[in-house]
């Protein structure tokens, strides 16, 4: 079996690699949590790409029901067809629409199934999927058939911590928390995205970035995805190195700060801090 070791455009730390490999080997779902913007959703895409498997994504919304992942029975169109005398109507199978789990179970090759942002759904949602994820099978009430996984799919579940997940569900998963990357990992991540970036610009940008992250009381601290956007802008605007270097955020607000801070209260705080520092300095 191929081991997941990250890819050309995704840096996976040792513990993340181990988590993915353990989940693949033991065929259990892997639950990923972490700050927004640390690449939780991307992980599934990269695992699929690295292992050469097809990716099925099931994005969860507040109105999503567990049943929709299995299948949906479209009673309304069947009723309508019965009025029109359509031949289709005699077979109930024509009105059963398979969901993502069904697709993943019946696929001829093993697939990677991403259940994205599971915490968005109702609290009962994970409980409704317990048996399905455990046994990797479910039965279709309308036709009486049982759908069993031909190959157990690699299941990756992400959560943003908006709701607590039930214990029974957690027991069936591996759990990995993506920590905010340290400076070294961050450098590796940026290198993946901007291979030609000059080293001194990178260092200056990183310094500013971590400084901004450490401002106490920020509502939303900038994360990896914000950093990458910001560097993209810095490069595109050709910001001279001098503007970044030798200037702590206390002396000047970083250029294009809008990419780093997404909350007007945070921006205001940064401006106030710079103002106070300048006055005192």
């Amino acid at each position: 079996m191929t081991k997941f070791t990250g890819s050309d455009n995704y840096v996976a730390t040792d513990d993340l690699q181990l988590a993915v490999n353990a989940a693949v080997t033991l065929q259990r779902p892997l639950l990923i949590k972490g700050e927004p913007g640390t690449g939780k959703t991307m992980l599934a895409e990269e695992v699929a790409a690295a292992m050469g498997k097809q990716l099925l994504s099931w994005h969860i919304k507040s109105t999503t029901k567990a049943q929709q992942g299995l299948y949906e029975y479209d009673a309304v169109s069947r009723l309508r067809d019965s009025q029109l005398g359509d031949e289709k109507v005699h077979d109930i199978k024509n009105y059963i629409k398979p969901g993502k789990l069904w697709e993943a179970f019946t696929s001829d090759e093993q697939v990677v199934l991403l259940i994205d942002e599971i915490d968005k759904a109702d609290i009962e949602f994970p409980n409704d999927l317990l048996v399905e994820l455990d046994k990797m099978q479910f039965s279709v009430y309308e036709t009486g058939e049982t759908i069993t996984a031909k190959q157990r799919p690699i299941i990756i579940i992400t959560s943003n911590n908006e709701k607590e997940l039930p214990d029974a569900f957690l027991r069936r998963c591996f759990f990995h928390y993506i920590r905010f990357p340290d400076k070294k990992t961050m450098q590796a991540i940026i290198k993946v995205h901007f291979p030609d970036l000059k080293k001194d610009l990178l260092n200056a940008a990183l310094e500013t970035f971590f400084e901004v992250r450490e401002i106490p009381g920020l509502k939303k601290r900038p994360s990896t995805s914000e950093l990458i956007d910001w560097i993209k802008l810095l490069v595109a605007d050709d910001i001279p190195l001098e503007t970044l270097r030798n200037k702590s955020i206390k002396e000047a607000i970083p250029p294009l700060y809008g990419a780093l801070l997404k909350n007007e209260q945070d921006v205001e705080m940064l401006q106030k801090m710079a103002f106070i520092m300048r006055r005192e300095g």
Partner: protein, 391 residues
């Protein structure tokens, strides 16, 4: 295999079950990792821990088991809140409190002494004036009145830990406010009353069959709205005075309730409800609202929750003119009774520990008026309250 390890984790308070141990053994059997303690650490954490709040505790238990690190015994009850170590905390102290700290030799000295005491002390302690514990006048501990800010324990008691002041990687993860509100939200979920409101999106099969039959077999689709939680909630918050100590808890409760209920209205009062309430705490004096207006605005189907410590002079409840802030024509209990009569589904949440209630006369009076429907502001208390309100 690894049974001692399992019990070490269990003893450290991690919610591990046999299933997780079996998973770990299965992973070892399949040689996911081999021959490296670091890899084993990662793997066992992956299998045993299901919440980043527990990482910190796991790290310690793991260290204890594999390096035989010394664990401080008997201190499970205590924890230094994170903000305690934050110098900003100093700004919140009154001059008098600062003077008291100075008398003990300043902040650093205080920390130093605390560490020493923690090492000396081997068992749980209550009362007295030197050891760390609950009550008493020692500068350490909580519930006592030596500078209130210097308290150990309190809201974060579930994160029992030893050697808490040591820098540990995951310590930040265990004190985020959101974690608190999440569990409160779960507790509030018990307050449910389903009703079909909103857009009709669900097929009503019974009605469709009935009306299709009536329609001589011609299809007549009937839709109905989905079930939603339709509980309406009215909250009254006690603010100011002794409630200042509970601000954080009350904020958590409020933010949890805000996101959990669509119909939520709230008003503030001080100590007891009188003829005026207010909506915006900073403008309470220029924008008071007549309590009668509030009484008449909301229907009887609203559930009412009072949030307050119920600690005040008994006269504030029983006598006209007893309020500490203004001249009230009618006694506090008269006003409270008006509210209780209007909304029969009511409860009082008290942030003070339940075993202290009996020490305050006003709390006893209120408990009686409320017919026992006063609940402590703990998760189980909120849960019990929610259940009683939805009954």
């Amino acid at each position: 295999m690894l049974i001692d390890f399992f019990y070490t984790l269990k003893k450290a308070g991690l919610p591990v079950t046999v299933k997780e141990l079996l998973t770990l053994l299965e992973a070892l059997d399949k040689q996911v990792v081999f021959g490296s303690i670091d890899d084993f650490y990662l793997l066992s954490r992956l299998c045993m821990v299901k919440d980043e709040q527990h990482f910190d505790r796991f790290d310690q238990a793991f260290g204890h088991y594999f390096h035989n690190l010394e664990m401080v015994q008997g201190l499970e009850e205590f924890l230094i809140p994170h903000d305690w170590l934050n110098p900003e905390w100093m700004n919140n102290l009154t001059d008098e409190e600062k003077a008291q700290i100075e008398a003990l030799g300043g902040f650093d000295k205080l920390m130093e002494t605390l560490k020493k005491r923690l090492q000396e002390q081997q068992s749980k302690h209550q009362g007295g004036n030197k050891w760390i514990g609950t009550g008493g006048t020692s500068p350490f501990g909580h519930g006592g009145y030596n500078p209130e800010g210097v308290r150990i324990g309190g809201p974060g008691r579930h994160q029992r830990a030893a050697k808490v002041w040591e820098k540990r990687q995951f310590k930040n993860l265990s004190d985020e406010v959101e974690i608190g509100t999440r569990s409160i939200k779960m507790a509030l979920r018990h307050l449910r009353q389903f009703a079909r409101t909103g857009a009709a999106e669900e097929l009503d099969l019974d009605d469709t069959i009935r009306s299709t039959a009536k329609n001589a077999g011609l299809l007549d689709l009937k839709m109905r709205p989905e079930k939603h939680n339709a509980v309406k909630l009215l909250m009254f918050f006690d603010v100011g005075g002794s409630m200042d100590y509970h601000i954080e808890q009350v904020e958590q409760l409020f933010s949890a309730a805000r996101s959990e209920f669509k119909h939520l209205e709230y008003y503030y009062f001080h100590n007891c409800v009188y003829e005026h309430l207010w909506r915006d705490n900073s403008r309470r004096w220029d924008q008071p609202l007549n309590t009668y207006d509030v009484l008449n605005t909301y229907g009887e189907d609203y559930r009412v929750i009072f949030v307050g410590d119920a600690a005040m002079s008994p006269y504030e409840l029983t006598h006209a003119g007893g309020s500490v802030e203004h001249m009230n024509q009618e006694a506090g209990l008269v006003w409270l009774q008006r509210l209780l009569d209007k909304w029969s589904k009511h409860a009082w949440l008290n942030p003070i520990r339940q075993d202290y209630w009996d020490y305050t006369h006003s709390t006893q009076i209120l408990k009686k008026v409320l017919d026992g429907r006063m609940y402590p502001m703990t998760l189980s208390g909120i849960e019990a309250m929610a259940k009683s309100l939805s009954a």
